[in-house]
């Protein structure tokens, strides 16, 4: 059985590789909502990557970055969806 540190490292590698479809969809997505969906998924994946990296490094600051990125990513997605819906944000 593999140890916890190795499992964390393997998970980090898989997660970084898994962001490639998001980047492809952001670049070549056929419509604008496709790109927003991909951006939302990329934000969620980055929160997880920052969390795992912070845990591996034992850094208390990077986990704050993960929390803040979760909040900012949600607000950005909501603002873009409102803009698509109404043509203005507020």
């Amino acid at each position: 059985m593999i140890s916890l540190a190795e499992a964390d490292f393997l998970a980090l590698v898989v997660l970084v590789l898994a962001t490639a479809p998001c980047i492809y969809r952001v670049l070549y997505g056929p419509t604008l909502p496709d790109r927003i969906v991909a951006e939302d998924a990329l934000g969620n994946a980055l929160v997880v990557i920052f969390g795992l990296y912070a845990y591996r490094e034992g850094s208390i600051f990077l986990i704050d970055v993960a929390m803040l990125l979760a909040i900012i990513s949600f607000v950005g997605t909501i603002v873009l969806a409102k803009y698509l819906d109404k043509g203005k944000v507020l």
């Binding site: 969809r25 419509t31 909502p33 969620n44 795992l52 949600f74 997605t77 819906d85």
Partner: protein, 116 residues
């Protein structure tokens, strides 16, 4: 006790990473916005929350109830709460904007609500 924590955290990590990878494959392969949204919502709920819960369990095993574990769990719960909301708003905006359903769709219950 240590074995239990190790098994639990590796199980949560495996479920989370699997859900995240499958969601990304779905984002790449599925034919239309609504299907892609159906795949990527799993990333937010099961994937992100699973991995961050695994971090919290590992941190609990090594150093008890520490700030890092609590912050990781907070970020996971926040994603768990907000990911369905953003998915719903994107799909509503896409439908009102006029993005069509894919070729093989057989039912559109929201038809007629579209903004002309």
């Amino acid at each position: 006790m240590v074995d239990l924590i190790e098994t639990l955290s590796i199980g949560c990590l495996l479920i989370g990473v699997l859900a995240l990878s499958l969601g990304m494959i779905g984002l790449l392969r599925l034919p239309d916005v609504y299907n892609r949204l159906h795949a990527t919502t799993k990333i937010g709920t099961l994937g992100a929350f699973g991995v961050l819960l695994s971090i919290m369990i590992q941190e609990f095993g090594t150093s008890g109830l520490s700030p890092m574990g609590v912050k990781a769990l907070t970020a996971g719960l926040f994603i768990l709460l907000t990911s369905p909301i953003s998915g719903h708003m994107i799909s509503r905006a896409a439908y009102k904007m006029g993005v069509d359903l894919c070729e093989g769709s057989i039912l559109d219950e929201y038809e007629g609500e579209r903004k002309d």
